[in-house]
Symmetry: C2
Subunit: 204 residues, 2 copies
């Protein structure tokens, strides 16, 4: 029984690369590809693969959203996240939305096959670097509350405390409190460092 694989990625080179890597594998059946979320969903109405290799950066809908939809509509289809960068929040998000694993684009053929087989066996698979960085992140990225995140985004948009207070219907001292706890949690001394860190972790 071959593993039916489908790829969603907006880069032809990557699609072609995966196809080329897997084409002579006896265990793999290539079902085709899509370059965006819409055509991926259209394809799934016709046929169901066993595994979708899914890039997280798609031109229309984000891979995270697509992953969520696919898993809801077709629970039998496993999703393997795929991307160039080792971005913890995104990877975390993919996994929370039903992805069975995550491989980076520098994966070898062997790693791809290993991942596919692990997923088909009901296990999950993470590239070594991904697993490593996910573990590290737990310690490094502070846990911030809903409200703090909201404030963070507004700070990044350049609002002053007064503007945020008006926008959120709360008092200026309250905004200030959240702001201070952000600085505390991220262990920085001023807005500049805060925004830089947040940008680095793709929070804004």
């Amino acid at each position: 029984m071959k593993i039916k694989v489908f790829v969603v990625d907006d880069h032809y080179m990557v699609i072609e690369g995966i196809r080329s890597l897997l084409q002579n594998e006896n265990d793999i059946e290539w079902m085709g590809h899509a370059t965006n979320a819409v055509s991926c969903l259209a394809f799934l109405k016709q046929q169901l693969p066993d595994i979708i290799l899914m890039d997280v950066n798609l031109p229309d809908v984000s891979g995270i959203e697509l992953c969520k939809q696919v898993r809801q509509l077709y629970p039998s289809v496993f999703v393997l996240g795929l991307s160039t960068f080792n971005q913890q929040p995104i990877i975390r998000n993919m996994l929370e939305n039903g992805a069975s694993g995550y491989v980076l684009k520098n994966a070898t053929k062997e790693e791809l096959l290993e991942a596919a087989k692990a997923v088909m066996a009901g296990k999950s698979y993470l590239s070594f670097d991904v697993a490593l960085s996910l573990r590290k992140t737990d310690d490094e990225l502070p846990i911030i509350t809903r409200r703090e995140k909201e404030i963070l985004l507004l700070i990044a948009d350049g609002l002053t405390n007064a503007e945020m207070a008006a926008k959120l219907f709360i008092s200026i001292p309250t905004v200030n409190t959240h702001r201070k706890s952000l600085l505390n949690k991220f262990n920085v001394n001023n807005t500049a460092s805060l925004i830089k860190l947040a940008a680095k972790h793709h929070l804004i």
Copy 2:
């Protein structure tokens, strides 16, 4: 006379994709690949391709640096930049360091061939989106001076004006002046917006 092509990219999928796309082309001779700058330079000591397809994000040295070195050591070898994202400052930098063009990783086989031929004919080639965004950038990304850039980096590192002044052996008002002209040039009102914008454009 076939065009001899060599690829430098740290993603196997991309290398394999390009190889697969070009392998049946009569005009193209595949010379091999490297996954980092060091092995690329090692290869060039043995043989010289006509064109190097070069990713800008390499694990050891940046593509920009590698491009510069290759062009200095082997002026007959053309470099075509290659990357996932349409990052204006990086692209600009590659071109300034001798690259003959730039293609995105969602390029089709046709586009790759067109780019290769253009480069061999002494022309330069830019993906449509790249050309578009480079033109747009001229208006959108302000030109900042050396000193301003220096200040920008220090602000992002969380230094206060006083700390920067001490570090750069200049007065606090001077730091302030640079800081204000940064806000002016980026057309923002405060540090938060400035850092966010700078991060977006990969300046910090």
